[in-house]
Subunit: 344 residues, 2 copies
């Protein structure tokens, strides 16, 4: 089992997801700035994994702070955190991981700085461990929605690589397989970054779970051919009303599922929920570089000077979501009530 | 204006569409087998262009036949045509172009063989000329459906490059622009072969028509954002009931258009109609190589050994089609009646 992210001798080691599946290379981050860059360039991606990386990054940032007292320490920490928070805007887990680390710092202001730094390092590991446990809980809840023999379509990579391990959407699939169900997966390649082709197919093949790769444009065709029984995807942020921000193309899949009477499930830890936002319209959508669309393997696919749009995420309105699988249980509509209840 | 396909000194010259937009290279075909290979490998593609290439290919095939009499000539011609017809299964224009050339041969069986060969050469040029005229007629009819200021979404390339010139779907856009309307285009990149990114964006930029490239997975997002007023696509074969076979992903776009109350128009010459098929279910769908999905620029994007599906086309049921724009006029539902009438 490949570790997506872990502490190794005081450095944060990540598998470089931009180079999978052809190359298995690890990147070591020694500073919060390096973690920030790894998030920005998608060496690590996936909302829960970004949350863990953020926490570990904050710990690295805390480590190098020299201060007389807690106030001095905390003001420097806040500045570093603000910079890290800007690395990617859509996934709420980034802000969530940072906020949790800051809270732990505040809660332990009476510790001597070296002890506080150790406490923060420990907290980042706890967040990592909790993420895996949350995914396993999600899997246990979610697998009750998947029937033996189901063909499951997924978009992007909401797998072990998008988390500290086990995965959210792919965690539900893994738990279904572990429960003895025969499951096969259709993986959307997920242009432009090809997380489906490169990451989802790779990690399911590693686990010997049958997976077939398709282009995003084929999802409708295979639903029409009755080769999809259920859709499970992850989420980068969920608004209070159940609107879901996830990888661009998720909205398309949700519309297609609705039109073919196929259940559309979202699997995400409760930390993905942003109760401060009433609806998905308030979720910021990251616009990434045009090069990711026009250039593949350093070769231009579109003419020089072509105008390009590249929203990295879209919003799936809650009306298209059958259920949201969280680590605290399954939320059914009306989500405004059920999500609030699960969030406690 | 680049010629998609033309006779040059007795050879069939095509622009190599596998190498656009980065390289502008021409391929000369001297035999029917070379034309067949060019169709198979998508050096030339697009249903109407394939029809023209087929006719020119038959002429090349006829040229090299040595026979005592018409019966001997025709039996050899039939064999060559049967081989050519196998190059791609979905576009009916291939079979249509071949059938028309065979009919002209039969109709002129009393000519001396050298004269018959000249007659066939002339017919292939007529088919080429008629295709451009048909596209201009389609443009004239179709532009009445497009309003000033419209944002038009298109999928794949149904442009000058998919025809002898002017284009079907892009012909409607060109005619709208020529009629003084301000039009902007959203082009789906159209995985896996990227006809949108490589060909549609290129030919619209050549004509200074504003075009923005998006991945196929973004189409729904931009409809949700009200940045699409109308969809126009081409077709590879249309059944008697109006079901449309077109590039994989067209069905997805049609479902999305329906869900956003956006008109979905299909532009295709009447030769694309196959009245012998009651519905789209009878249209053969070409399954192309997995390599076109897993490998881009000779670099693998998916793990070695990954299972892949690659249907090159899908079927859009007539219920999702607002109107079919042909060179004989615009067909509205019920298509079974209106298409039959237009076909005469």
């Amino acid at each position: 089992m490949i570790k997506t992210i872990e502490w190794v001798d005081g450095v944060v080691r990540m598998i470089d997801q931009t180079r999978l599946p052809t190359e298995k290379v690890f990147v070591d981050c020694r500073t919060i700035e390096e973690v920030s860059l790894a998030i920005k360039t998608m060496i690590i991606r996936g909302a829960p994994a970004i949350g863990v990386a953020a926490a570990m990054g904050v710990s690295l940032g805390a480590e190098e702070i020299l201060a007389e007292d807690f106030a001095g320490f905390y003001s420097q920490l806040e500045k570093k955190c603000a910079e890290l928070a800007r690395s990617r805007p859509t996934a709420v887990n980034l802000a969530w991981g940072i906020a949790r680390m800051k809270r732990v710092a505040s809660d332990n202001k009476d510790l001597a700085l070296p002890d506080l730094k150790k406490r923060l390092r420990r907290e980042s590991q706890t967040i990592c461990d909790e993420d895996i446990a949350a995914n396993q809980a999600m899997g246990a809840f979610g697998q009750t929605l998947i029937a033996d023999g189901n063909n499951v379509l997924t978009h992007c990579n909401a797998g072990a690589l998008a988390t500290a391990g086990f995965g959210t959407a792919l965690g539900v699939i893994r738990a279904s397989v572990n429960a003895g169900k025969k499951i096969s997966v259709l993986a959307n390649e997920t242009r432009p970054f090809l997380q489906g082709a490169r990451l989802t197919v790779w990690e399911l093949m590693e686990d010997n779970i049958p997976v077939k790769l398709i282009t995003d444009s084929m999802a409708g065709h295979f639903m029409q051919k009755k080769q999809v029984d259920v859709v499970v995807v992850g989420a980068d942020r969920i608004a209070a009303n159940g609107d879901v921000a996830n990888k661009i193309g998720t909205y398309m899949v949700a519309i297609l599922a609705k039109n073919h009477n196929i259940p559309f499930y979202v699997a995400a830890p409760i930390s993905t929920l942003d109760l401060s936002l009433a609806s998905g319209e308030e979720i910021p959508i990251e616009e990434r570089s045009a090069d990711e669309v026009t250039t593949i393997n350093n070769k231009r696919m579109a003419p020089e000077g072509a105008m390009v749009a590249h929203p990295a995420f879209d919003i799936t309105p809650h009306q298209l979501v059958t259920a949201i699988i969280t680590d605290k249980g399954i939320a059914l509509p009306p989500f405004t009530e059920t999500l609030k209840k699960l969030a406690g």
